[in-house]
Symmetry: C2
Subunit: 134 residues, 2 copies
């Protein structure tokens, strides 16, 4: 698996944990230290692992949480870090998200997430884009 594939795989795993309300998987996807942050749509920023994971516990345990699907994920790679820009489809509406990843051995872990409103929408369901700087 190339780094590019591994990053998009990690991004997809994040949304799978989100969609399946799998808190154990969500916990494992986030980097295991305190230099993490998360900005849910409209929220104030959450900083540090405890605050970020607590927010996910609240969201994933909410039975009224709507289904979410990741669309048009594009990875921008730079050695040991990468960020993914993607749409989040929720009941036919779209948010736009940034997910920042760092390499952790053979896997990639998320260190930051921001999602917010957008007037845009995915262009197609074709090949995921890629821009790499080594």
């Amino acid at each position: 698996m190339s780094d590019h594939q591994a990053i998009l795989f990690a991004n997809e795993a994040f949304y799978q944990a989100f969609a399946e309300r799998d808190m154990e998987a969500m916990d494992a996807i986030w980097a295991d230290d305190d230099a993490v942050a998360c900005i849910h749509p409209g929220w104030q920023p959450l900083e540090g692992r405890e605050a970020v994971l607590e927010s996910w516990r609240a969201i994933l345990s909410n039975a009224d949480s709507p289904p979410i699907v990741c669309r048009q994920a594009r990875a921008h790679m730079r050695g040991e870090m990468a960020f993914v820009v993607c749409y989040e489809e929720i009941l036919g509406q779209y948010l736009i998200a940034t997910n920042v990843f760092v390499r952790d051995g053979r896997t990639w872990r998320i260190v930051h997430h921001q999602a917010g409103p957008t007037a845009g929408q995915p262009e197609d369901e074709g090949e995921a884009g890629e821009r790499t700087v080594n």
Copy 2:
């Protein structure tokens, strides 16, 4: 200057270029390659240096652009990369932003920016926060 100071300095330089509509400074702040992206509030994501800088030329040349001030910038550092979470104050309203930086020799350059609405606001104007992973 510590890395932490240098990253907050680069973040401040980004907002100074924004506030002063200094396109030359804005151009210099962005990494000089194509693995950059930008999500202005409500916009579709822009990817690649040409599209990102074109958007800044349009914004900075607009005489009706309101003043912008960066508040409560907090840097999260990981070796050769860092991301800053900060509020953007515009006419007494707040947006929340993520700015991702990478090291470029002795300076840090921005590779990604996302700003969007928030219900939060800066807590105080005290010392800028820091979380570092080496």
